[in-house]
């Protein structure tokens, strides 16, 4: 809950036009806080017209979502602004997203957006307009260690909505100034509250897609983006091979594949085949049986520690290697210079470079890093 001494300063709510952030704004207004609503304009939907769809909501900065956010702001009588972070978003999220895929990794743009836009540039904007804190509709909880005063991140009360996997990059300074009012709520409660408050978005559905990628077709997005930038590699095709080197067919670029992928390989065989590895240098995609996907270890780099201040000796934790992964028991080993080696008790399917490895102890988020 907000620090009572900060009541005189406004709180800026990041409003996407969706149910969750709209409810956050309305809740905080009802609690008596001075609220300013802001929507981040992150991507110009008029770009890459070849990707246009008739779907108009759930994509970042869709005009319909901005109308919804504005409508809610009007209902709860708060000042509301759309702030333009298009240039920053392209630099810190879209361009790295494309580069990572080209390098054969599977990036998480939402984490980059959290690290560089929402909890960085947006926080700066809140500072700029004299606000002390920002509030978002994330499902996560922040607590403070009673003795050390360290900010701790904890999973949401509604486990099915928990978003801590995407928040592993948050620093102490950022956590000190963020409010996640939905962290101790169930999604059903949030919708009931929105209905209760009469919010225009109370019946709105959810979006799970990467906001700037229409229809979830990230490969089509990448192709269009590279064409627009004039940086499309000349030769983007290669072979699909088995682990023992048998060629099964051709493909149009490794960025169309992600580790663990089964569908869309374009080859028919008796047993189900999965992507086991991609190599951008040779443009080779290696496929194999499900068992070939199992890995017992991984190295996480650029580790950010949240609830723990660091790691000096091996420690037990549960580790999540993608958002929908059930955190698996493992031992964390500190490596020289900061990376962490994760040794799972049981091998895990589809350890994917570019995704996050997030360390948990119960509901506590210890920290996390990027899978090498």
């Amino acid at each position: 809950m907000p620090d009572p001494t900060s009541h005189d300063k406004p709180i800026v709510v990041a409003m996407s036009g969706g149910l969750d952030s709209s409810t956050v704004a309305a809740m905080l207004v009802r609690e008596g806080h001075q609220i300013v609503g802001m929507t981040m304009q992150l991507w110009n939907q008029r770009r890459l017209p070849e990707l246009a769809t008739d779907k108009t909501t759930g994509r970042c900065c869709s005009t319909d979502d901005v109308y919804d956010a504005r409508h809610v702001a009007e209902q709860i009588a708060i000042p509301y602004y759309v702030v333009n972070f298009e240039e920053e978003f392209e630099e810190h999220v879209v361009a790295p997203f494309v580069e990572e895929y080209l390098a054969g990794r599977t990036p998480i743009p939402c984490t980059l957006c959290n690290n560089f836009i929402k909890f960085d540039r947006f926080l700066d904007m809140a500072d700029s307009v004299g606000a002390g804190q920002i509030a978002t509709g994330h499902y996560a909880r922040v607590t403070r260690h009673p003795e050390t005063g360290r900010y701790e991140l904890r999973t949401a009360a509604d486990a099915s909505k928990d978003q801590t996997y995407f928040l592993f990059g948050l620093t102490q300074t950022q956590l000190a100034r963020c409010l996640f009012p939905l962290g101790d709520k169930q999604k059903t409660e949030v919708r009931a509250l929105a209905r209760d408050l009469g919010l225009a978005v109370a019946e709105k559905g959810e979006s799970y897609e990467i906001c700037f990628v229409p229809n979830g077709d990230y490969a089509a997005f990448m192709d269009a983006y590279l064409r627009e930038q004039g940086t499309a590699p000349k030769e983007m095709k290669g072979e699909i091979v088995t682990a023992d080197g048998r060629s099964l067919g051709e493909h149009t670029g490794v960025h169309h594949f992600t580790i663990g992928q089964r569908k869309g390989l374009g080859i028919a065989t008796g047993e189900p085949l999965y992507v086991i590895a991609t190599d951008p240098a040779s443009q080779q995609v290696t496929v194999g049986s499900g068992n070939a996907l199992l890995r017992s270890t991984l190295v996480a780099k650029e580790v950010n520690w949240i609830s723990w201040s660091g790691l000096t000796a091996p420690a037990r934790a549960r580790v999540k290697i993608r958002n929908r992964h059930l955190a698996a028991p493992a031992t964390l080993y500190p490596l020289d210079g900061g990376p962490v080696e994760v040794r799972f008790d049981e091998p895990q399917r589809a350890v994917t470079p570019g995704q996050g490895a997030v360390f948990y102890d119960g509901d506590l988020v210890l920290g996390g890093g990027w899978i090498e």
């Binding site: 110009n44 900065c61 005009t63 000042p79 333009n84 700066d124 904007m125 620093t171 300074t173």
Partner: protein, 375 residues
């Protein structure tokens, strides 16, 4: 909290005189100006009275005034109503989107003449851009972002000597500085009501007698076959009164007070565009190392409405194409704020705005030197 308005180039409040005429007309004059009966005649009389008032302010003949819905339609009518396929158009890089985007949509060759760093178009550049098939030259009279007044008379003479028609978007100039269509030598001139105290939804295009303007919509015979559709008589009446009564001469002193106050109080602040040739109400100021969007929001939360750049469809701010066109970097354009004053602003409001700007800029510069949150 009290809110003060310093964004008159976006739109101005309804003037008391325009409001009185508008309300009276809405209440009393409901006939269709094309109808033959008493009610129609009453409406027609009001419409023609308004046409004479607008014409008088422009030094034009009443029959040269075509009422339209506003500045954007006036620009569209002027460009689309003159230019034919295969012809050539000359315009400038600092036009309003109503001209720029219409030029781009004409489907003909368009030459965009650059403005210099002071925000002025060089008539010599226009002369060099002319071609044998140039049908129309269109140059904005007073730029909406900088307020700079272009050497229209000289450019118009060059265009017309070459056999081209000359149009000027006068939306920001009309009512704020003297405009005489004959002294300027324009063939077509766009004006808008809501910039000078009339309501939104009314504007006019001056069309010099003999200019072969085609209607761009089809319908009835209204406005001498140049603009079909039942006339907006209350709007025209209010525009007529606004044209007759608009007086922005006193605004220059307020603008100068604001400008010198800000430039004296705040370091690393500088004026964009020429100081001399400007409409009396506009000041565009760059604050180094400041995000204009953040300054705009800060000022709004303190009760002062200003503008920065252009609004895109979502309402977010994009860097001004005009500032980029006169040679500012994107960074500089993003750190610029447009103050546009009006006759109802007071010295007290201006002084309070100077304080608020100084305070906000100090705050923004202080936090921008702190360690960023994502270290």
């Amino acid at each position: 909290m009290r809110h003060f308005y310093f964004d008159h180039n976006a739109t101005a409040p309804l003037s008391a005189a325009a409001r009185a005429s508008l309300v009276a007309c809405l209440d009393e004059v409901y006939g269709n100006a094309s109808s033959i009966h008493h009610f129609g005649q009453a409406a027609k009389q009001k419409l023609e009275m308004a046409r004479r008032q607008v014409a008088a302010r422009l030094g034009a003949k009443p029959k040269e005034i075509v009422f339209v819905s506003g500045g954007t339609e006036a620009d569209n009518l002027a460009l689309r109503g003159i230019v034919a396929p295969g012809q050539h158009v000359v315009t400038s890089t600092i036009e309003h989107p109503a001209v720029l985007n219409t030029c781009a949509a004409l489907g003909v060759d368009v030459t965009y003449v650059a403005a210099d760093s002071s925000g002025l178009v060089d008539p010599g550049d226009v002369a060099r851009a002319l071609r044998p098939n140039t049908a129309l030259v269109s140059v904005i009279h007073a730029n909406n972002e900088l307020g700079t007044v272009q050497p229209i008379a000289e450019i118009a003479r060059i265009a017309r000597d070459a056999g081209a028609y000359f149009h000027s978007d006068g939306v920001q100039a009309f009512g704020k500085i003297p405009v005489d269509v004959n002294a300027l030598g324009v063939d077509l001139y766009s004006i808008s009501g809501h910039k000078i105290g009339a309501p939104k939804g009314i504007g006019a295009l001056y069309v010099r007698e003999g200019t072969p303007l085609r209607a761009i919509a089809s319908g009835g015979h209204h406005e001498r076959e140049r603009r079909p559709g039942t006339e907006n008589v209350p709007g025209a009446v209010a525009l007529g009164i606004a044209a007759e009564t608009a007086d922005w001469t006193s605004v220059a002193a307020l603008r100068d007070r604001l400008e010198s106050g800000i430039l004296a109080r705040i370091a690393s602040a500088s004026l964009n565009g020429a100081r001399a040739e400007r409409i009396p109400n506009t000041s565009n100021i760059r604050f180094d190392a400041i995000e204009g969007e953040a300054l705009l929001i800060s000022l709004d939360l303190r009760g002062f409405a200003v503008s920065s750049g252009a609004a895109c469809s979502s309402g977010a701010v994009e860097p001004s194409h005009v500032l980029i066109a006169i040679g500012l970097t994107r960074e500089q354009a993003r750190s610029s704020i447009r103050f546009s004053l009006g006759p109802e602003n007071t010295e007290e409001q201006v002084d309070a705005l100077i304080e608020a700007v100084a305070d906000s800029v100090r705050h923004l510069r202080r936090i921008s030197t702190e360690v960023p949150a994502h270290a």
